[in-house]
Symmetry: D2
Subunit: 405 residues, 4 copies
Amino acid sequence: MGKIGAWLIGARGSLASTAVIGARAIAHDLAGSNGLVTALPEIAALPLVGMDDIVFGGWDVVSDPILHKARVLAHDDTAIPPGLVAALEDDLLAVDMRVRPGVLDHAPRSGSSALRAARGRRETLAGTLKRLGEDLEQFRADHALETVVVVNVASTEPPLELGAEHDRLDGLDRLIHADRRAAFRPSMLYAYAALAHGFPYVNFTPSIGVEPPALQQLGRKQGVPFYGCDGKTGETLVKTVLAPLFRCRNLEVLSWDGFNILGGGDGEVLSHSRHRESKLRSKSNVLAPTLGYRPQGKVSIDYVPALGNWKTAWDHILFRGFLGTKMTAQFIWQGCDSILAAPLVLDLIRLAEYAHRRGESGQMTQLACFFKKPMGVEVHSFMAQFETLLEYVERHRATFGVRRG
Amino acid sequence: MGKIGAWLIGARGSLASTAVIGARAIAHDLAGSNGLVTALPEIAALPLVGMDDIVFGGWDVVSDPILHKARVLAHDDTAIPPGLVAALEDDLLAVDMRVRPGVLDHAPRSGSSALRAARGRRETLAGTLKRLGEDLEQFRADHALETVVVVNVASTEPPLELGAEHDRLDGLDRLIHADRRAAFRPSMLYAYAALAHGFPYVNFTPSIGVEPPALQQLGRKQGVPFYGCDGKTGETLVKTVLAPLFRCRNLEVLSWDGFNILGGGDGEVLSHSRHRESKLRSKSNVLAPTLGYRPQGKVSIDYVPALGNWKTAWDHILFRGFLGTKMTAQFIWQGCDSILAAPLVLDLIRLAEYAHRRGESGQMTQLACFFKKPMGVEVHSFMAQFETLLEYVERHRATFGVRRG
Amino acid sequence: MGKIGAWLIGARGSLASTAVIGARAIAHDLAGSNGLVTALPEIAALPLVGMDDIVFGGWDVVSDPILHKARVLAHDDTAIPPGLVAALEDDLLAVDMRVRPGVLDHAPRSGSSALRAARGRRETLAGTLKRLGEDLEQFRADHALETVVVVNVASTEPPLELGAEHDRLDGLDRLIHADRRAAFRPSMLYAYAALAHGFPYVNFTPSIGVEPPALQQLGRKQGVPFYGCDGKTGETLVKTVLAPLFRCRNLEVLSWDGFNILGGGDGEVLSHSRHRESKLRSKSNVLAPTLGYRPQGKVSIDYVPALGNWKTAWDHILFRGFLGTKMTAQFIWQGCDSILAAPLVLDLIRLAEYAHRRGESGQMTQLACFFKKPMGVEVHSFMAQFETLLEYVERHRATFGVRRG
Amino acid sequence: MGKIGAWLIGARGSLASTAVIGARAIAHDLAGSNGLVTALPEIAALPLVGMDDIVFGGWDVVSDPILHKARVLAHDDTAIPPGLVAALEDDLLAVDMRVRPGVLDHAPRSGSSALRAARGRRETLAGTLKRLGEDLEQFRADHALETVVVVNVASTEPPLELGAEHDRLDGLDRLIHADRRAAFRPSMLYAYAALAHGFPYVNFTPSIGVEPPALQQLGRKQGVPFYGCDGKTGETLVKTVLAPLFRCRNLEVLSWDGFNILGGGDGEVLSHSRHRESKLRSKSNVLAPTLGYRPQGKVSIDYVPALGNWKTAWDHILFRGFLGTKMTAQFIWQGCDSILAAPLVLDLIRLAEYAHRRGESGQMTQLACFFKKPMGVEVHSFMAQFETLLEYVERHRATFGVRRG
């Protein structure tokens, strides 16, 4: 097997930078496999692409180089060992050279003012899609890649109300031809370009991405797999592990409140209420499917720049036990945002490439355990979702039975 | 189906009192089924005995009546609604009448000094076993019971080193005939009496109970089911729910420290280091089987009388993620000891009676999810254990398919 | 010394009910003095009024009797021992008889619809003030009281922008004569009535109360003491104890986030954003005066009905120490709202009556330690504020030197 | 004013290394004054020695150089910015050259086996004292120092029972001449040498140090100031800030439990039960003097190597408020041990030198706020202790009134 491409949307952000650093560090044997689900013996049984066979590139709307972001992560945020960044300077510069201009949101506050002035208004939707597609094809050709997995790790966009035109591909194409920009978010355009060119697409953010039925239709038509959305890395991960406990012990959850504080790029974007809304939507719906009812309480996210790339969540659960007695559980999760998410991005690249190689297309529901809002899956219990992944692996091992050397 | 008996070892303790109050409250329709696993729709599919068909009795070494304990739980500990205790006075008095003298531990501090003076030294092991067996038979006869489930909910005993004689029933019988008291703990005698008379036995405590192979041989010989040990109600429950998360996400747990403070009767007994040792043994071994290694850190239990029947656990988990970055998770569990445990005792009575009725004998491994140290089961993940219970139910439903009216 | 009156605004609320229960329980020797600052030996050195010499009455806009509220507090919220409520039924009924109709806010959601329909629109401001004054005089006359201390413990009102007319008493009087209702909140009318009739006034809530300079001018003119606002009972109390630690150790607080969840009547009112704004204003300004700068982070309050009268606050403090290293402190405060506040209400009644008896008038700055937003005091450190109270007591003890028998 | 010396006992430990790094970083203008109490404007009013005028040296029983420890702190523990260590290499090497062999404890596990073999048995107590004194005099002479402040920052020793001979200097001298090693701990010998040579001595550890009355007599005789013991940097600091809140609000603390986990050198020593005992003694006695009674609960310390130089404390406080209702407060303190302590060590050097320069001798009670167990001071409230320091500064400013340029 030859090399494959990983094309990151938001390639100069903290998460993409950390994913690239990690992959290159592992390729150079400078880091272990902590945090990688695909490094677990039961998953590693699949013949997945090696870290040294992944070539990184991507889109971004900012010009600040990856190396600069990496240094901030190492020195200001104590998120990454400084020595690692120093050792990988050349690799990061090389990836940075492969970053192409992205698509600006028409929403305020997205992208640098320079970029916004230069572009954005002049390019038509059709023109944008053409440009994006060429970027992908060029990337594949330049590096003789077997395929390219496109992963959205860009900042969260505001939500978008979908209309009837988003339901079918022909409707969507009409919107494109009419250049109806208000009916699109950049994440949809990226997804369109990827799928139209036959590349797997994964949405790691709460942005809309491949959610419109028309885009999923496009994916199936092109025979490519896709999935999302919103990587499950912290508070929600713990929630979907703990909630089944209350269900299985018949303890009635009266209220479940979650408070999240985080700094970093994601935190800043989420401090704007419309962007935060997308995030809160995917965080707020994980309990009811498990518990069978919706407890009181809510989830909030606050931006605290001083936290840098770190986030802290405090969850307070009031539950009613035997004879009506009220009791309390609380948890505090203190994690480094990019460090928690980056290995999952690499896992998804590997698993999406594998599915694509196996000829699978459509929703990759076997990946539900990676997401807060897994497409086409009603089950939110993390352990049950993980079981599904194991069953997928088992099924494929049974068929092929060999591990890639 | 007729009535069945539930014979509680430690019948006047907080846990037994709460279990009795709960069962009677449900029987009188004064309380709901919160906290009862057997009330979950998927488990309730089995034809389990109804709460109003359980007659309670038991052994104890103290003379303080259940009603008094119930009032302390209601008024001092705010564990139980005071109105419930008032409404059930007659029921509690009736159960109290059926409490028979238990067996005193030779360890210091067990039982009242009066009881200790009156008995303990004079009775032989064989005499004790005979007396206990007669208590059980009398109870069955008095109430025309189909069977009697014996459940140990007494205070934790100090550990006992087992020898070769404990391995086989004939060896154990020789120890009894030789009246070798030092080779026994009361929990073993209770278990012997139950099994010898053909009654299911469940050990809800960390005491030795039915652990000696000789006793399990007795159980199998008599064709009765048994199980234990140590009900999983709080900190350990959460641990066995959370630990799989770290395993499945390949996050390396560097240290896991658990601090428990509790008051109440159990807390007091556990404040004595030899008794605490039994408890810590069953609490300390749940992580390694799930994680595949033993992280740093330890579990401690401190007695804080002012907490009454309440307990608080704080767990601190230091884990290493991607690129070696260290992160932290913490949880705080504030529960009412008896309220958490009592419904499980009722669940176990119902499920043990059902297994017995179905003719099953030996270890009831389907009940692993109820215990910190489940006999014959290596899996400690709560969700995996619960899955086993569901499969058991499913299997039996498939065979019989009817719900008891 | 004879009896004095305590006239509670919001007399049928949880806080007023708890204060009345407490005072009567102490008078009947059914409860101890836990939580009462005036019971501390150093404060008790003043000749303060005895609990059995306080007659309670007040205003409210709801008709649900105190006894009902007391039972909810005892049975649903486990806030008060049920036995206490039963023992004090007659006392509570007697106080309830002395509750007079209050003043409805024109803001939505205040008061029952019946009350709102019956009154509110018809009564002029002058008419309202006349009626309120008569209520107070009647109360004094009926019980031959030496004075009446008026304390606002009603639900939080929305904030009010003050204009130039609120600066001087003649301006305020013009607003009254012109019946300019939009320039008033009920708390101002209650305060006006109290002060105009020569009665001390204390505002325990974040509502505007005696804040307008014109009202303070009235108080000084009438020679009565007054104070506020917003009792310091939980999260803010802990903040004003902890913040000086960071200041005195030169640890730079980068961010301080506080999350509050609470149920009960206060929680419900605060779930409405305009009402919550008043609360958040008084909660948000306590750090900067102590630290000398305003750290990042914010305070939030969420209404969780299931918590009943209980509240939980989680505060997360990120601070920078030596060599720039970031560290973290967190605290969790789980208290019963009314139980924390009620003894302070009794303390304030006693200390305000004492100041009045001593002929003091104007702002009672010695009471700063009881308030989140103490009038005329820049110091927010709780310990420094308490020191001021001790100095006040010391000064008065030195002058009079005798303790009331 | 010329230069002064700072002679650190345990000069190659984490704390000493951090203090040296900090002082040199500030001297080179590479770090700010965060965490330094003497940098607060109200304390900086005193003419204290500048950071660039402090020459560091000291004793240690290990040979691992400071630079190595500094790199561990920077790279493994993320306690110190790695760039700072790189920039200060020369300074650290220079200090390391001035480290002289210390005194081995006869207790097991102290010092390297090489050192233990080489010395320890052969040197008499008198010989040790002579050697230590010569080290100090040589240091002073080599660098033309005005004085030398000796500070104990070595690992905690096991406790020592004091006898009548420890009460008076002549008794102590008899023990020395008789070479009664079991009557001494190394910290006492260091203190003796410092005081005998007229150098101020500060004990930042829970070891016995200058506690024996005979040593204090020596200090007063020589006219030098001294103080201790056990720097107050984390959990105990917060306790002595929070406990007064409960006292001043008349909230009865029923139980106060503190659980500490820490790694690093100090953690390892404290994992040995006899050493831990010294620590627990100074941690356990701070509540009763403030509260007026001793609540239930205890303090524990556990060694968790994976935490590195970081420590986490969780404290659980159960308190009884009005009408007997029980409530709970908890705090979690996550700090870097050396980073919290090092600036205080520098503060103490500066304040002890100042006191010495002013001709003060004996206990420096003005420094109580720095210690868990402040000599000759009954007050444990941090804020009250800090007030004492402010009064000391105010008194001295009033006399001299000038700030050193």
